[in-house]
Amino acid sequence: MNSVPDIFRILPEVILTLTGVAVMLIDATIPPAWPRRSLGWVAAFGTLFALWGSIWQLSLPEGTGFFSTVETSTFTVFFHVLICGIVLVAILLSLDTLPADSHHQGEYYALVVFGAVGMCLLTGAVELLVVFIALEISSISTYVLAGYRKQTGRGPESAIKYFLLGSFATAFLLYGIALIFGATGTTQIYEVAHLAPSAENHALVVGGLALILVGILFKVSAAPFHVWTPDVYEGAPAPVVALLSTAPKAAAFALLLRVVYEMLPSLHAFWSPLLWVVAVLSMTVGNLAALRQQNVKRMLAYSSIAHAGYLLAAFAGSQAIGIAAASFYTAAYAAMNVGIFAVVTLVSGYDEKLPLIEDYRGLIYRTPLLGGLLIFFLISLIGIPFTGGFFGKFYSFSAAVDGGAVALAIIGLLNSGLAAAYYLRLAVVSAQRPLDSRKQNAPSEQIGIAVGAALLLSVAATLVLGIVPGTVLHAAQSGALTLQGPSPEPAVRVLGVEPAPNR
């Protein structure tokens, strides 16, 4: 029935896995004295190839593979491209900023690429156990990456905290999957969608959904499951945070969209108010806490919590509009957040001699290019028109208004006014005249080819999303159409006995 070989359904994942394996093998075979930096280029080209592979998947007919556990559709391609893009930028960023004498670079790039495998698989999985495995693949890589600077005190602390809380949250997810399976007798998402409304034990489905939501909301660092975020971001190296704050979140949001809109749209009355509350909590808690931070990375961590809240506002919208808005916001947020962490990496340096907001004083005088870019990304995070951040918020809140949640939109926009205060504080500090004493211990802030390319990519993405959002929005919308509810022909078969019909 499947006219497409199964392997093509997971082409980007396959490419990424092969890349990761290649990086590890090369790392093990070349003499220890040789520099490891070129491994990063291997990883970068592998990711680029995977990106091409995702785009190529568009030419496949939509459908599932591997006994209807993995899907390719416009929706999955959208997120695959996004994740591969983020990983590519993060690798380019690491190429110039990881210390040259580090002998763990092979592990680093391999872990980044393996993490990407998990994230990509997460967006394509339509079977809850595959979802769980994909989530674990991506999480375990990121746990290790968070502690990459193990010689500092904060690195291991960050990794352990992330690991303990993260595995706890994953346990919730797994428990939720078990309950759903108990109620419906299946873990295939489309079948759950068909069976859930008629499930005998309705409370079991609701409980399962609630537990799954806990697991996912932890991953996207939405309040009240956000407490790990600032500590992890502070301890992890900045290039890792650039990755950590965007790619796993994009994947988790894709999963959230799939769970609420595709698997259990029948429980709309249950999850809709829940996500409303979480959205309001996230933006308010994130922004209020960010106001008081002195450390740039902690501030950006709280800001990312707030952005998760803005994004969740899109879930108040009706199916097609909400999915499209959330997908678009994920892309816009990724572009600007990767960009700002790239700037932070360059300014603070890998070993973070300059972590405080006050240390950014006079940045625009010291290195006008970096200062300008910092202000540019901050403007986008504030949500000023003609940047990606604006249209992200715009679509998200218009989805909310369209879905009748006017109050949520007002709270969100007032919050973005509040957020402007701390973004601006950083912008204003960097535009202030430098104090001479700080000049000496500032790192050189050299911009190499790889970092230059990373910055260029994020600036271009932020501008394109802000000036001509049409193309990306169109992609998000066609993705939303492929994710709308269960497939028209009902699946009447026992789990796993025969492959699902091509949708």
Binding site: I384, P385, S398, I410, L413, L424, V428, L473
Partner: protein
Amino acid sequence: MNAIDQSILTLILLVPLAGAILVALAPDRSRLPNWIALLTTLVTFLLTLHLPAHFAAAQGGYQFQINRLWIEDPAIYYHVGVDGLSMWLVVLAGLMAPVGVLASWNAIKERPRIFYSLFLVQQTAMFGVFVSLDLMLYYGFWELSLVPMAILIAMYGRKNGPRAALKFFLYTFIPSAPLLVAILWLYSRAHSFDFSYLQMAVASGAIPAGPLWWVALAFLFAFAVKVPVFPLHGWIADTYSEAPVALAMVVAGKLGLYSMLRFHVGLFPAQARAMAPLLIALAVIGILYGACLALVQLDFWKLMAFAAVSHLSLIVLAIYGLTVTGWNGAVYQILSHGVVDSVLFLLLGAIEVRYASTLIGAYGGLAARLPRTATYFVVATLTMIGLPLLGGFVGEFIILSSTFTGVSRAWAVVAALGIILGAAYMLWLVQRLFYGPESTLASSSPAVDLHLPELAVLTPLLVLMLVMGVAPAYWLKAIQTGAHPPQPPHAVEHISRSPRPNLIPSAIVPEGQR
């Protein structure tokens, strides 16, 4: 319409932006950024002059329109056009741009590249606000106008630039959050951002009236902060006293007042009519409050800030009087106040550059040492306080007479009291700066009167003030085609009976020719 008419507004928007990019790429030496910026602003000004030259006053309505789809969903159009309300404001903004560049010529010594490129972006944003006929496009430019301004105040401000910039940004950014929600809500009901379409939709009653109140209030709130209207004026004193001269000239008034005319009263006539009494009261309070505070200021930039509150409140009074004559006067007064304010700013800026003090008390007896400066200043002051034959008189007279006859005699009398106070603080300022015994500050530094470049900027502006005082009909001819305040239900019949009412009060024209 020929090709130039088609693309003139796009050119006006793009030329400053192109100039900004060019300045940003130019090497930071030998005044190259200054020259590029000056050239760009002059070209833009010439382009804006195309509008009055080819504006068909008889035809009315929006002209030089372009309406192209920008984003499919939500349907945002690149829809720009001008009518009588906005055309002269575009020209005013065009005129202020080269003036601003020349005002910064000697004042901005460090990093001219960043300064001029952001200044030019700011110009694009301002033009965009005046010409946008799509609400989303308008909102985009409205927000965009905040950013360069805030950065420039932070980087090039006087002592507390960063603090003033933060205050300015938050004051103006937070009210735009409800504004955006209101715009989105309108879109969710009407499925369009197009201004004319929304105007029709609101007028036809297709949109429920209850929420429409809140929408109208959100619009008003955003605009009232920007003007600023009386209790919302907290940002203006700091911004005026910290911002570089070129920016202080453009920051207040124009954008907010124009937005009130077009997007508050124009879009929600019924709601605006109901809110008008409150706004009139606040405007009158603002006139008196601003004038009283201006009387007691020790710093001349702060004096100018509160004087602006007073003068801008007068225009708000005219807008919410909702009379045809009042609206003509309001637009005219925006133009004339824009010119006068910039002349005073240029002169005060020149004085500050020479003596490095902004305290009024430190000065005295400058007239003997700087006779040309004193002359120009006195003429500008007289314009500001509304001496007949000069630009300020026409607007003030139209506004007060329309308030007196069309709104309420009592309010007009109280507002006129503010004009008297205005004369008091301005003349007292002249007296303290230029006359009296020579202060130690004045005698300690060498007397350098206005030099040629400064005179080259100021003289045309002074002539313009005079011309605006004697020949207002030239401007009002176009303005009156756009000034259509909503009429109360019973007045509609009366208006429609006369085919083309003579909207210029007849008292004005002989006044000018006297």
